[in-house]
């Protein structure tokens, strides 16, 4: 009896997987029929055209493949670097490659096969949808960051604002995740995420505004193009520092790792999450790290501009440097309290960002000659 029900269950499972696969393949064929045909035809005529095809951009270079690799490297690098600083070893061996560099992949496999536990008193719909929404909100801004004049997935005249739209949704998703878990630690973590947003978001807008003022455009492409001569970190250093601080708070990196303070409130808003729902949160956060490194590089470090080597490589190097700076804070800083962050955001970061904007306004005639 038991074996027959089990067999039935597996039959149903197989049927479900087959139907899902069929629907997926049908959708893919409908959506990707023309682009795939284009790519296949280029393969035989002119292979170099594949490299600038939109499908290649979405799936491989500025899109999914590149971001995934950088995110995995960032997870590994964060653990390894913090371990070195604290005189530990860190991840040591996993698979054939040295240095435990495959450890994130092993973690991913483990999370994929773990059971997803949904608490009994939770709000099931929101509880399951929140990690998916968090991953989407983390991955969407990647499409807006230009890696060279041709390597951008979605070029839009207001791409900087759209970037902030996507990142502005994130704390709302976290609050919903914390609320739906029906756990006091999760709820406190969600509220902390929202308080944190209230403290860092305005300085972030204001400091990004100085780059907008210098380039006279909201488009990230135009902002990068305006820095062919001089990088904006030279002209607006205070804004760059304020923006970097705000990015640390946005990514919940170490001095501001307040919403998921593990020594205070277990794991914050993701206390009740397990298996791949937890994995989606982690991957979303690290994909957002890549997106914000790209944004910082475009706003203040000149984007793809640089001597000798071609455009996308400069951008890749800058993204790597900024991501390394962001994840290295884990080893150096203690966690501050939420009220300290709010008072720092409102009484120090906002005046500093406004101060730099005033300086730029005062230097306007000189800057016009410099940048033209």
């Amino acid at each position: 009896m038991a074996s027959s029900t089990r067999r039935d269950f597996f039959k149903a499972l197989l049927a479900g997987v087959a139907i899902a696969l069929l629907i997926g393949v049908a959708l893919d064929v409908v959506l990707l029929y023309r682009p795939l045909l284009d790519v296949l035809s280029y393969l035989f005529t002119n292979p170099s055209l594949i490299l600038i095809h939109p499908l290649f951009m979405v799936l491989i270079f500025p899109g999914l493949g590149f971001v995934g690799i950088v995110a995995v490297l960032a997870i590994w690098g964060e653990r390894k670097f913090a371990a070195k600083v604290q005189n530990r070893v860190g991840p040591l061996y996993a698979g054939a490659l040295p240095g435990g560099i495959l450890q994130p992949i092993a973690d991913l496999l483990k999370l994929l096969f773990k059971e997803i536990i949904i608490p009994k008193d939770s709000d099931r719909l929101v509880f399951v949808m929140a990690p998916v929404a968090a991953f989407l909100m983390g991955a969407a801004p990647v499409a807006l960051v230009p890696y060279s004049p041709s390597y951008v997935i979605f070029d839009f005249p207001l791409s900087l604002l759209l970037f902030f739209v996507f990142t502005g949704f994130f704390p709302m998703v976290l609050l919903l995740a914390g609320w739906s878990s029906n756990n006091k630690f999760s709820f406190i973590g969600g509220l902390r995420a929202l308080y944190q947003q209230a403290s860092y978001e305005i300085p972030m807008f204001l400091s990004a505004l100085s780059a907008v003022m210098l380039a006279k455009s909201f488009s990230l492409m135009d902002i990068a193009k305006a820095q062919t001569g001089v990088w904006f970190i030279v002209l607006a250093p205070i804004s760059a520092v304020v923006f970097f601080t705000a990015v640390l708070a946005e990514l919940e990196k170490f001095p501001f790792e307040i919403p998921e303070a593990e020594s205070e409130i277990v794991a914050g808003w993701m206390t009740e999450y397990s298996g791949m729902t937890y994995g989606l949160y982690w991957f979303g956060i690290y994909v957002k790290l890549v997106a914000f490194s790209g944004l910082f590089a475009v706003l203040f470090l000149g984007g793809w501009n640089g001597p000798l080597i071609p455009a996308p490589w400069w951008m890749i190097i800058k993204v790597g440097v900024v991501a390394t700076l962001i994840i290295s804070t884990r080893a150096f800083f203690p966690r501050i309290r939420i009220d300290q962050l709010i008072s720092a955001g409102w009484t120090k970061l906002i005046p500093l960002a406004l101060f730099n904007i005033l300086i730029l306004v005062a230097l306007q005639p000189w800057l016009v000659r410099l940048l033209s």
Binding site: D121, S122, V126, P157, L161, L176, W179, S217
Partner: protein
């Protein structure tokens, strides 16, 4: 095929607006409100007004919905997440009327895209719909709110609101079809800034000062309250 996207969007936006009014759980209502704002901003994108659409997203979804959600969660319902009840309020009548209203709005949209003149229909709608809504509200507030009849009145009101929404959306899509859909609209933040500052510069400054003083006033009020509390101690 052009009308399919507006039709889907219209359905989505109307359903979200209705859910934000009708859902029993305040949190779900706030989420639906955010979804409604997103739908509205997508309409702006559809009408070739990306600036307005992005700001709708940034301000209404990114800030106002979050604040509403925050307020609901901090001071609002002391209801556990698991105790969310289903939307029984609507029932069959409301659903049927909603479907009718949606179909009506869809027909108006279709007519606008097929360049069929719908001016008589539109004028009838504009005169009839407010009367319907007015009667509904009078009945709602005068009548005894109990039993199934109450829900029927509510469904009636919902129908009126959907009629107004549908007719206005149809008209705006039609007007937008004359200008926005026809070609590329030049889009430039610098020109927009020039236009606003040259024509309405003084007003902008006054408005900015007003908003800033309002923000400072709010901060001052909050601050004063805390100081008084300390004095009381």
């Amino acid at each position: 095929m052009d009308y399919i996207i507006p039709l889907v969007l219209l359905t989505y936006t109307s359903i979200m607006a209705l859910l934000s009014l009708e859902s029993r759980s305040l949190v779900y209502g706030a989420i639906s409100l955010a979804g409604f704002f997103i739908g509205l901003s997508l309409f702006f994108f559809l009408l070739n007004l990306p600036y307005l659409g992005v700001f709708q997203l940034l301000v209404y979804v990114g800030a106002i919905s979050v604040l509403i959600l925050f307020a609901v969660m901090v001071i609002g319902e002391h209801q556990k997440a698991g105790e969310v009840r289903r939307f029984r309020a609507f029932g069959l009548v409301g659903g049927l009327l909603l479907a009718l209203a949606m179909a009506f709005a869809g027909i108006i949209l279709l007519m606008s895209f097929l360049d069929v003149s719908f001016a008589p229909l539109y004028s009838v709608l504009v005169y009839v719909a407010p009367v319907v809504v007015l009667i509904t509200f009078v009945v709602l507030f005068v009548g005894e709110p109990k039993g199934r009849s109450h829900y029927r009145y509510r469904a009636f009101g919902v129908l009126g609101a959907a009629l107004i929404f549908g007719s206005f959306t149809g008209v705006f899509s039609y007007l937008g079809g004359l200008n926005a859909f026809s070609g590329e609209v030049p889009f430039d933040v610098g020109r927009l800034a020039d236009f606003v500052m040259n024509n309405y510069g003084f007003l902008m400054v006054v408005l900015g000062l007003l908003l800033a003083s309002a923000a400072y006033g709010a901060v001052a009020l909050a601050k004063k309250e805390k100081e008084e509390e300390e004095e009381e101690r």
